[in-house]
Symmetry: C2
C-alpha cells in the first residue's frame, strides 16, 4: 500500500467510454410509461423533451460501453481526472483502523460532479441544432454547471431554482447569472404549473418536483428548446460513470480495493457515477463483494421508507411515469440545507438495484451531517457541500464500527461538491440554530 | 508546441527548495529599521513578532535556495502542483494571436495561493513551541488559509479582518470560523490601536494597515503568540516561489517560454511567487528577456504613483520601518471589492526591483477589472477573485496589443484565487451598481 495522499491519472489514462449498467443488469429497469396510455415510452417519445442522443441512451439496455464524443473528452480533460484522496487526517481524528478514501469531485471550476453530465447534454443539444436549454436546480450545483456548459456551447440557458434553496444560498444564482443564465425561483408565476402550485399553497417553499414541472413546461412551449436534467435519469448516471471508472484505476494505484462504497443520494447521479462501474463486477458474480451505501437525509427518506411504484418525476405530473422508490410526487420535503437531496424519488436503475439487494440506504439526521462535515473540514481542509456531508456522516458511522471491531476496512466515498456557497448553513450550525 | 490544455507535475517533480531572490539581487533591499533608533533590525529583533525561522529567512541575502521541510513538502503534495492552463477559449474570444497561459492557484481547498505560506509559517511556529498565531486579512484569503493551517497544526488562531471586506464578503469569515478561528473586524475596540483609530474616525472602513496594527498588538501582548503575515515580507515571497518554480517546468512541458509575466499586486506575494523564479535568469543576464507586469488597482496605485521611502507597514506605526514604494501608512483606500489589493505599500524586494527597472506597474480601474473577470469566467469557466481580475485585465490589454501588431507573444499570468466568495461583487457589477 502506498503512503501517497492523492492519486491522479494522466490524460491518456482517462476513460474514453461511459459505462452503461443497464446492459449488465439481471432485472432491467421497468419501462417508463406514458401516463395517459400506460404504454412504454420510446426514445422518440422522450426526444420531445430531451436531446435525441440522451433519449436513446436513456433506454439503451444493450450496450455496456458507449463512446464519449471527442469534444466531450477534450472538455473533460480540462478538469479530469479528479483526485482520489486518502483521508489520513480524518482517519487519525477518528482513531479508526479503516482506510478512508474519497473521490474529490469538488475541484472543477463549478464545484461539483454535475459538470460531467452538463457537458455532454449541452454538446448533444448543440449537435442537434437546439438553441435553448432549460432545467431545474435545487442547491444550484446542477444549474451552475449547466449555465457554464451552455454558455461554452453558445446555448441560451433558463434555470428554475427551488425557491427555498435560492434564499438559502443566494451566491449560487449569482454564479448562474455570471455565466449568463436566466434564473427564476420555483414555484413562480411564469408557468401554468407554477401558478397552480402557488394558488394551492402561496407559501410553497419549492422542491425539485415543482422546478421540474416549470422547466419541462418551458421546454415544451418554447421553439428549439430542450429540457436537461442533472440527476434521476439513466443517461445522467451514464455520463457520471467517469467518476467510478477513474476511481477504479486510482484505487489500483493506491494498491487497495474498496470494501464499502458510499455516496449521498438525491436522485442518484453521484451515487451511480461512483458505484456502478464497481458494481458491474458484482452483477457478473466477479471480484470482492462491496457494500454499497446510499446516504439520504432523514427528512427525505425515499430509499429507506419510500414505496416502489410508478410515480411522476415532478409535482404537476408533466413527466412520464417512472418505476421508482418514491415518497409521492406531492411530497413536500423539510427546508434542510442539502437542497440537492430534497427529491421525492430515486432513479429507475437505482430503484431496481435496491429492490434486488445490490445496495442499501441509510438515513442521516441534518445535525449529524453537519457534525461530520465540520470534522472533515477541520481535518482534510475542504468544506464539503451539505449534500456531501451525508456521505461523510455515513462513512464516519462505518469507520467507528471498524474502530470497535478492529477491522481495517477500505471505505471509498464520493465528495460530490464543496460547500463554499453554503456558508450560511455552516453559520447556522456553528451558531446552534440548526435542528 | 503541445495542444494540451492543462499541465501538471508528478509528485516527484515538485520543487524541494524555495528560491530566495535576495541572494541574486544586484542591489540588495535596504535594511528594515527600528523606528526609534533608526538602526537596522536583526533577525533576533524580528523574532519577537515572527517565528524564528521566518525572521531568519526574512534577512537572508546569502542563500539562493532554501530547503523546504519534509512536513511542508508532504502538505504541499496534497494540492500541488497546481495546473498550468492554456486559455484557448479566452484567446479565441479576444481573437488574439497571443498564447495566454495561467497558473491556477485557485484549486486548493482554501481557494488561493495563500496556503503556500500559511503552511510553512504554522509549521515553524509549531516547531518552535508557539501556541497561538494571529494575523490580519483583507478579502480573507490569507485568513482562511491561515485558519486551516493553524487548525491542522493544533494552533489557536485569531484573525483581524478589514471591516469593509468582512461586510462585503461575509462567507469568508464563516469559512475562518468553520476552521475554528476567532475573527474580529478591524478597526475594533479590542486593541489600543483599534480604539485610537475608531476614536479619530468612527466610520473608518478598515484597511490592511489597521488590521496589521491590531494583530501585531495582540501578538506582542499575548504569551506564546506569534504574528504571521500573508504578503509584503520577504519570507512570504520565498514560500510563494513554489508557484514560479512549478510554472517554469510546466511551461517547458508546453514547449514555450513567457514573453510577459503578469500578476495582481497587493503586497507582492503572488506576484513575487510567480515572477521571481523566472527573474533569476534576468538577474544573471541569462535567457530571453521577460516583461514583468504588476497590476494594481487605480484606486491604490503605490507602484505607479507611490514614493520610494521608509514607511511603516501599518496604520498605528507598530512595525519596523520598511523601505518601499508607498502611498503613506495613513492612506485610506477606496472601498473596492479587491480587498487584498487595498494596501498602501509594496514589499521591500519588489520595491527595490521596481526601482532598478526589472518590472513595471500598471493600474486598472475597478470596472475594467470586472469586465475582464466576466469574460474570463464565461470563456474559461472559472470565476476569478476580484484581485485576480486585475491580472486578467492587464493580460487582456496586452493580448489586444498583440492583435493589433500580429505578434504571437506568450503571456503567463497568475490566477491567484477564485471569486466564489465574492459573488456580491459580481452581482453589483452585473446590476450596473459598480463604479
Amino acid at each position: 500500500m502506498s503512503k501517497q495522499k492523492r492519486f491522479l491519472l494522466n490524460e491518456d489514462e482517462l476513460p474514453r467510454q461511459w459505462y452503461n449498467i443497464q446492459a449488465d443488469m439481471i432485472n432491467k429497469p421497468l419501462p417508463l410509461l406514458n401516463p395517459a396510455t400506460r404504454e412504454p415510452l420510446t426514445a422518440e417519445d422522450l426526444s420531445h423533451i430531451f436531446a435525441n442522443e440522451c433519449a436513446k441512451q436513456e433506454l439503451d439496455t444493450e450496450h455496456a460501453w458507449i463512446d464519449i464524443p471527442e469534444e466531450v473528452l477534450r472538455r473533460y480533460s480540462y478538469y479530469r481526472s479528479t483526485p482520489l484522496v486518502r483521508a489520513y487526517a480524518l482517519e487519525e481524528a477518528l482513531g479508526t483502523p479503516a482506510h478512508i478514501y474519497f473521490k474529490n469531485e469538488s475541484v472543477n471550476p463549478l464545484g461539483s460532479h454535475k459538470l460531467n453530465s452538463a457537458i455532454p447534454q449541452c454538446y448533444y443539444c448543440k449537435q442537434e441544432g437546439v438553441k435553448n436549454v432549460t432545467t431545474e436546480t435545487g442547491a444550484g450545483q446542477w444549474g451552475a454547471a449547466l449555465s457554464y456548459a451552455a454558455k461554452s456551447f453558445g446555448l441560451e440557458c433558463a434555470v428554475y431554482q427551488v425557491k427555498i434553496s435560492m434564499l438559502q444560498k443566494p451566491y449560487r444564482s449569482s454564479i448562474m447569472r455570471t455565466f449568463g443564465a436566466t434564473v427564476t425561483g420555483s414555484p413562480s408565476m411564469s408557468t401554468r404549473a407554477g401558478k397552480d402550485i402557488i394558488t394551492a399553497d402561496p407559501n410553497h417553499p419549492g422542491s425539485l418536483g415543482t422546478a421540474i414541472s416549470e422547466a419541462v413546461e418551458l421546454a415544451t412551449t418554447t421553439p428549439d428548446c430542450k429540457y436537461t436534467l442533472g440527476s434521476v435519469m439513466n443517461h445522467v448516471s451514464l455520463h457520471q460513470s467517469v467518476i467510478g471508472l477513474e476511481a477504479e484505476k486510482q484505487m489500483k494505484m493506491a494498491g487497495e480495493y474498496p470494501d464499502m462504497i458510499i455516496a449521498c443520494f438525491g436522485g442518484g447521479s453521484n451515487f451511480g457515477g461512483l458505484a456502478f462501474p464497481f458494481m458491474r463486477h458484482q452483477l457478473k458474480g466477479e471480484g470482492k463483494k462491496i457494500d454499497f451505501i446510499a446516504a439520504e437525509p432523514e427528512s427525505c427518506p425515499k430509499l429507506t421508507k419510500g414505496k416502489f411504484e410508478y410515480d411522476f418525476g415532478d409535482t404537476a405530473g408533466y413527466t412520464p411515469l417512472l418505476p421508482m422508490y418514491t415518497l409521492g410526487h406531492e411530497f413536500k420535503p423539510a427546508n434542510i440545507h442539502a437542497g440537492g437531496l430534497r427529491y421525492h424519488g430515486a432513479g429507475t436503475i437505482v430503484s431496481q438495484l435496491l429492490k434486488d439487494g445490490y445496495l442499501r440506504g441509510v438515513d442521516i439526521p441534518q445535525l449529524e451531517s453537519f457534525d461530520a462535515g465540520l470534522l472533515f473540514a477541520r481535518t482534510e481542509g475542504i468544506i464539503p457541500a451539505p449534500e456531501s456531508c451525508h456521505a461523510i456522516a455515513a462513512t464516519i458511522r462505518e469507520a467507528k464500527k471498524c474502530k470497535e471491531t478492529g477491522e481495517e476496512k477500505v471505505i471509498l466515498f464520493n465528495l460530490s461538491g464543496h460547500g463554499l456557497i453554503d456558508m450560511t448553513a455552516y453559520d447556522s450550525f456553528l451558531n446552534g440554530d440548526l435542528v
